[in-house]
């Protein structure tokens, strides 16, 4: 759904009353399901957590079971930005740029203590959590998290994706969220 119908203000019909509404909701559900099972990650691995992501990709955990084994190093093709590892202040703008380059719908997982909050690196050079530069949907604690936890995080995003309304990305709340991060 591109931004073609951005300007048109639509009044949402109550779901399930009219046929179209019913159609729209079930359609939304189908697309949600599709998205849920096809979340292509952009592994933004900077340090230790990246190594655990390798383990998640590996045979023992196998992220492909969730349909997410195609790592898209190009942000255009990715659905989730998995920020794994310390993000130094020098790196902050890069994260933001990558996020900006991603196409909607996009989700962000902050994997590990460093990406979520800076972890033990409460220092002058480390960004204290990537939620200072991009909006984060799911936080995964751990330093580094076990692959199980990374998969947990992925499943949380799956839940988000499955239940997300198709219009959410055009909603004023979402625009406001992006604006608060200075993302056009």
């Amino acid at each position: 759904m591109s931004d073609s119908n951005n300007d048109i203000k639509m009044v949402e019909a109550p779901d399930g009353i009219s046929g179209a509404g019913f159609f729209a909701t079930s359609f939304e559900k189908v697309i949600g399901l599709a998205r849920k099972h096809s979340l292509w990650p952009l592994p933004f691995a900077t340090s230790c957590c990246g190594i655990e992501y390798m383990a998640t990709m590996g045979s023992n955990y196998d992220i492909s079971r969730f349909g997410s084994e195609r790592p898209s190093f190009s942000p255009r093709q990715a659905d989730i930005l998995m920020v794994m590892g310390t993000i130094a202040k020098k790196m902050g703008p890069v994260v933001k740029q990558v996020y900006e380059q991603m196409a909607e719908p996009r989700w962000v997982i902050a994997v590990g203590a460093c990406a979520s909050s800076g972890g033990i690196f409460d220092t002058y050079s480390v960004l204290q959590g990537i939620d200072r530069v991009v909006p984060v949907d799911v936080y995964v604690p751990g330093c580094p998290p076990r692959p199980e936890q990374i998969l947990d995080g992925l499943m949380r995003v799956q839940d988000l994706a499955a239940n997300e309304s198709l219009r959410r990305r055009n909603s004023p709340e979402y625009q406001a969220l992006l604006a608060s991060y200075n993302i056009k």
């Binding site: 202040k89 020098k90 909050s117 800076g118 409460d122 220092t123 002058y124 050079s125 480390v126 204290q128 200072r132």
Partner: protein
């Protein structure tokens, strides 16, 4: 020749004189000598060239900050290694923070390039003759040299910690 601290020190003093090399210590089995800015380059060059010593590997190099030592606030430490004799030596140079200038080693050791940039980045030590003395790890327009003791470690924007509690 088996290298021992004594005969290496003897050779060095013979070459450079007592006035340029002093404070020979042995804190951990590695001889530590102190020298001055003028002697450091010739000294390292001599250690490299001398056929007996063959100290030809720069193991590491770093800056140290002593805020309380008047006119000797900054120090650079060079640690060299002779693979042939498996002999290590540590050389220190102290100088005032008001005049943080050191000669560069890059002409002798290629590896000194980044080490010196790191020392510059952390302590603001200026290595004259360095081909590209810019910050290496931090952002280029950072306004201070973070490893100097007076600057805080913590990120000043962090909000979720109560500093007073067990504050370090």
């Amino acid at each position: 020749m088996e290298l021992t601290n004594e005969n290496v020190l003897g050779k060095i003093i013979e070459k450079f004189g007592e006035e340029n090399v002093w404070d020979a210590l042995n804190p951990d089995g590695i001889m530590t000598i102190t020298t001055n800015r003028e002697t450091i380059l010739p000294l390292i060059q001599y250690l490299y060239d001398d056929e007996e010593l063959q100290i030809r590997f720069l193991t590491t190099m770093c800056g140290i900050h002593y805020p309380d030592q008047k006119d000797k606030e900054l120090c650079t430490m060079y640690q060299l290694h002779s693979f042939r004799h498996n002999y290590r030596i540590r050389i220190k140079v102290y100088f005032p923070i008001a005049d943080p200038v050191m000669p560069t080693l890059t002409n002798l050791y290629a590896t000194a390039n980044w080490m010196e940039r790191e020392a510059y980045d952390f302590y603001g030590i200026i290595f004259t003759g360095h081909p590209n003395l810019v910050r290496i790890l931090n952002i280029e327009d950072m306004e201070y040299h973070p490893m100097l003791k007076q600057y805080p470690l913590e990120d000043q924007t962090r909000e979720d910690k109560i500093n007073t509690f067990f504050g370090r």
